[in-house]
C-alpha cells in the first residue's frame, strides 16, 4: 500500500470521526425492490451493486415473490399504503389496478429517458384511465417458432416460408416418425401463444388490430375465423394426446429433441440453451399466406419498473428508475438475460435475437394482451378457453369468433348488439 493511500485513509477516518455530522449525513438509505423474477436475481443484484457504488450510502434489497402470487401480495401492500420503493410491474391490463397516482409515480416528466422509448412499448406502461406512463418497460417479447436444425436436416426439410410449405414440412416430419410440433393444449395460454404466432398472417396483423380495437369490425369477421380455421390444420401434427400436454411437457419434448418445432415466445431461448447445450436451435416467424408476403410477428411490452408513490425515498428511487431506462442497463439486460431490452439503441450480439429484432420492424400487437385485457372477461381468458374448445373439436371457428365477441361486448362498447 502506498504511503499516499495510507495518508488518505487516515484523513478519511479522522474526518469522519471528528465531524459527527458526516456520520449522520451519510446515514444509509435502505430501499426495497419487489419482483416476481426470481430467476433473474443475479442480474438484478449485480445492477444494484453498480447503483450502490455510484450512490454511496444507498442500499437496495431485491426481494422476489412467486409469480402467481406477486400481484396479490403487491396489491395488499399497496392498498395498505406500504410496499416497496421500487416496483416490478406487469404490463397492459395487469398493470391497471396499480396505475393510479395514489399508488405509483407518473414518470413521463420525471424520467427523460422515456422520450426515446418506442410508443408501442410505452403503451404497456400507460394507464387507461388517465393516459399517463407509470413505468419503464424492461423487455420486449416476440412470438416465434423454434425448430431443431438437426431434426430438420435428418428429415431433409428446410424452414418453411409459406403456410403450404409449413404443412408440407409438418407432414414430411410426421412420415419420418418425428413428432413435428411440441405444442399441446392442456394449458390454454400456450394455445393463445400459438395463435399469436400463426394467426396474424391470416387475419391481417396490425390492420385487423386497428380495425377491431376501434370497433370497426369484430372477431366474427371472416378474416379472423379464417385464421382460426388455419390453426385447426396443425392438429394432426401435435403430440399424441396433445390436449393433455402441458407447458413443461412441451418444453421437455423440444429440449430432449423428441419434437422438431416449438411454437412459443422468444423468452424460451435462454432456457432451451441452458438445458441442452447441444441443441441446435433455429428461429423463424409464423409462415405467411402467399410467397413474398412479409410475416407479422406478435410483440408486446413484457412489464415495467415503477416507483411507489408512498416511498419515503422517492428522489433516490427515481434515480434508480432512470438508471433502468439507460443504455447501460438495457445492454446488460440483453447480454445477460438473452432477452430483448425495451431500451432503444441496445446492441444485440446473440445471432438468433439479432434476426428476431429485424422481424420486429413488422411487429403487430399481441392482440388480446395489448388490446383486450383491460376488463373482465378479458380477451385472453375467452380465447384461451375457446381455443381449447376448438382444439378438442367442441367448437367451430365461427363459434369461437361469436363467443369472443359476445364475451367482450360486456365491457367493450363497440361490440354491443353485434
Amino acid at each position: 500500500m502506498g504511503r499516499r493511500v495510507v495518508t488518505m485513509l487516515l484523513i478519511a477516518v479522522f474526518t469522519v470521526g471528528l465531524w459527527p455530522g458526516a456520520v449522520t449525513g451519510q446515514a444509509k438509505i435502505a430501499m426495497t425492490f419487489w419482483s416476481w423474477r426470481g430467476e433473474d436475481k443475479a442480474f438484478y443484484e449485480s445492477m444494484i451493486k453498480k447503483f450502490e457504488a455510484q450512490n454511496p450510502g444507498t442500499s437496495i434489497e431485491f426481494q422476489t415473490y412467486k409469480p402467481t402470487e406477486y400481484n396479490t401480495v403487491l396489491s395488499a401492500a399497496m392498498q395498505a399504503g406500504k410496499g416497496p420503493d421500487i416496483v416490478h410491474l406487469r404490463a397492459y391490463g395487469a398493470l391497471q389496478p396499480f396505475a393510479r397516482p395514489e399508488f405509483l409515480v407518473p414518470l413521463e416528466d420525471k424520467v427523460p429517458e422515456l422520450k426515446m422509448f418506442a410508443r408501442q412499448w410505452l403503451d404497456g406502461a400507460r394507464s387507461r384511465a388517465d393516459g399517463k406512463v407509470y413505468g419503464v418497460p424492461f423487455a420486449v417479447q416476440t412470438l416465434v417458432i423454434f425448430y431443431n436444425k438437426k431434426l430438420f436436416k435428418t428429415a431433409g426439410v428446410t424452414p418453411p416460408k409459406t403456410w403450404n410449405q409449413f404443412l408440407a414440412v409438418l407432414k414430411t416430419l410426421k412420415d419420418k416418425g418425428v413428432t413435428p410440433l411440441a405444442n399441446g393444449g392442456k394449458e390454454g395460454w400456450t394455445l393463445e401463444v400459438a395463435m399469436g404466432v400463426l394467426g396474424p398472417n391470416f387475419y391481417g396483423g396490425s390492420n385487423f388490430y386497428e380495425a377491431v380495437t376501434r370497433g370497426q369490425t369484430t372477431f366474427k369477421s371472416p378474416q379472423f375465423t379464417a385464421a382460426l380455421a388455419k390453426m385447426e390444420e396443425i392438429r394432426p401434427y401435435m403430440p399424441q394426446g396433445f390436449m393433455g400436454v402441458a407447458y413443461t411437457d412441451m418444453q421437455q419434448l423440444f429440449i430432449n429433441e423428441q419434437a422438431a418445432m416449438f411454437i412459443g415466445g422468444i423468452w424460451e431461448l435462454g432456457y432451451f440453451k441452458s438445458q441442452n447445450a447441444s441443441l441446435d436451435i433455429g428461429v423463424m416467424p409464423g409462415p405467411v399466406a402467399r410467397d413474398g408476403d412479409t410475416p407479422w410477428v406478435s410483440s408486446y411490452d413484457d412489464g415495467n419498473y415503477g416507483v411507489n408513490a408512498k416511498s419515503p425515498n422517492q428522489a433516490l428511487a427515481l434515480k434508480f428508475i432512470r438508471f433502468t431506462g439507460s443504455r447501460e442497463w438495457g445492454q446488460a439486460f440483453t447480454d445477460q438475460l438473452k432477452q430483448i431490452s425495451a431500451v432503444p439503441g441496445v446492441e444485440i450480439h446473440d445471432p438468433q435475437l439479432q434476426v428476431v429484432q429485424t422481424w420486429m420492424r413488422h411487429a403487430t400487437p399481441y392482440i388480446m394482451l395489448v388490446g383486450f385485457r383491460w376488463k373482465n372477461p378479458t380477451g385472453s381468458e375467452l380465447i384461451q378457453n375457446d381455443l381449447q374448445g376448438l382444439f378438442s373439436g367442441k367448437m367451430t371457428p365461427q363459434q369461437v369468433g361469436e363467443d369472443l365477441t359476445k364475451g367482450l361486448a360486456t365491457w367493450f362498447e363497440p361490440f354491443r348488439g353485434q
Binding site: 409469480p67 402467481t68 406477486y70 400481484n71 396479490t72 396489491s75 399497496m78 392498498q79 406487469r90 391490463g93 395487469a94 391497471q96 389496478p97 393510479r100 399441446g184 393444449g185 392442456k186 394449458e187 390454454g188 395460454w189 393463445e192 403430440p239 399424441q240 394426446g241 396433445f242 390436449m243 393433455g244 400436454v245 402441458a246 411437457d249 419434448l253 385485457r373 383491460w374 376488463k375 373482465n376 372477461p377 378479458t378 385472453s380 381468458e381 375467452l382 384461451q384 378457453n385 375457446d386 381449447q388 374448445g389 378438442s392 367442441k394 367448437m395 359476445k406 364475451g407 360486456t410
Partner: protein
C-alpha cells in the same frame, strides 16, 4: 371466582355469568377469525370495485351481474353443476369404496392393520404432491396409465385424461377419491367395530345371511357415521379448490371442463397472471353465495339425517 361486595348475585345470574366467561374466549376467537371475515366479504360484495380499489355502495348489483350477465351467468351454472357432479361421484365411488373397505377390514383379522395403514396413507400426503404425482401418471406422452393400457392391449382406450373435456372432471374426482378414501374407511370401520357382537350373533342365530345382516343390522347402526360422512363430503365437494387448482389451473381447463365454484371465486377475486383482472366485488358475491349454499344445505341435511337416524 367470587364477586365481593355488598350485593351478591343470585344463583341464576352468577351461573349465566360463568357460562359467558367460559364461552368468551372461544366466542372472541370465532368472531375474529370466522365471523368478521365473513361479514367483511358480505360487505365487500355490496360495493363497486375498480380492480383493488373500493368504489361506492351499489347494493346487489354484483349479484345481478353474476347471475344474469354473460359470461358470469354461464360460468356460475357450469361450475355449480360440476360441484354437484363431484359430490354425487364422490358419494358413490369414494364413500362406497370406503364402506366396502371398512367391511373387509372389520371381517378379516390377518393383515387388516397393514391394509388400514395403506388405505389411510394417501390422506396424509399433501394435496399438491398428490396432484403432481397424478399429473405425471396421467400424462399422455410418458405417463404410466396410458403405457399400462397399451401393455395389456388396451392402447385404444388411452386418452389425454386431464386434457380431454369429457374425462378431465371424472379423472380429478377419482384422484380426489384415491387421496381421501382412507378417511371414510376409518370412520366406518370405527362404527362397525362399535357394534356389539351380540347383535350380529342374534341375527345369525335367527338365520340371517351376510347380506341381510349388512342391510338390516350393520347399516342402520352405522347411520351416525354415514351422516357425518355425507355432510363432510357435501361441504368438501362445494368448497373444492386445491386439487382442481393444482391439476387444471385457475380457469378449470380445458374449456372450463373442470371449473368449480372455488376456482371461479378465486380467479374473480384475485385475477390471474395470464388471463383476468381482479374484481373483488364479483369474487365476494361468489363467496357469499357459496357460503350461504353450504350453510343452508348442510344444516337442513344435518337436521333431516339426524331425524332419520333417530327413526332407524
Amino acid at each position: 371466582m367470587s364477586f365481593p361486595g355488598p350485593r351478591r348475585f343470585s344463583y341464576r345470574v352468577s351461573q349465566a355469568l360463568w357460562v359467558a366467561a367460559c364461552l368468551a374466549p372461544a366466542l372472541m376467537l370465532f368472531t375474529i377469525v370466522v365471523a368478521y371475515p365473513i361479514a367483511g366479504a358480505m360487505a365487500y360484495s355490496l360495493f363497486r370495485w375498480d380492480g383493488i380499489v373500493r368504489g361506492g355502495f351499489v347494493g346487489l348489483v354484483n349479484f345481478q351481474r353474476l347471475l344474469t350477465q354473460y359470461p358470469y351467468s354461464v360460468r356460475m351454472l357450469t361450475a355449480f353443476w360440476h360441484n354437484v357432479w363431484t359430490f354425487a361421484l364422490t358419494m358413490v365411488i369414494q364413500n362406497g369404496l370406503g364402506l366396502l373397505f371398512a367391511m373387509l377390514l372389520a371381517g378379516r383379522t390377518w393383515g387388516a392393520k397393514i391394509y388400514r395403514a395403506i388405505f389411510f396413507m394417501p390422506v396424509t400426503l399433501s394435496l399438491v404432491i398428490v396432484g403432481f404425482l397424478w399429473q405425471l401418471f396421467l400424462n399422455p406422452v410418458w405417463g404410466i396409465v396410458n403405457k399400462s393400457l397399451a401393455l395389456i392391449g388396451l392402447g385404444g382406450l388411452a386418452r389425454p385424461w386431464l386434457g380431454d373435456v369429457h374425462t378431465a372432471l371424472i379423472a380429478i374426482t377419482l384422484v380426489n377419491a384415491w387421496r381421501w378414501v382412507g378417511f371414510p374407511t376409518i370412520v366406518f370401520l370405527a362404527g362397525i367395530q362399535a357394534i356389539p357382537d351380540e347383535y350380529l350373533e342374534a341375527a345369525r342365530l335367527d338365520g340371517a345371511g351376510p347380506g341381510p345382516i349388512f342391510r338390516r343390522v350393520i347399516l342402520p347402526l352405522l347411520a351416525p357415521q354415514v351422516n357425518i360422512i355425507v355432510i363432510l363430503t357435501f361441504i368438501g365437494a362445494f368448497n373444492w379448490f386445491e386439487l382442481p387448482y393444482v391439476m387444471q389451473g385457475v380457469t378449470g381447463e380445458p374449456n372450463h371442463a373442470t371449473d368449480v365454484l372455488g376456482l371461479l371465486f378465486y380467479r374473480s377475486a384475485f385475477g390471474a397472471v395470464d388471463t383476468g383482472n381482479p374484481d373483488v366485488g364479483i369474487g365476494s358475491s361468489i363467496a357469499v353465495i357459496m357460503f350461504t349454499l353450504i350453510l343452508v344445505v348442510s344444516s337442513l341435511g344435518a337436521i333431516y339425517l339426524r331425524r332419520r337416524e333417530v327413526e332407524l
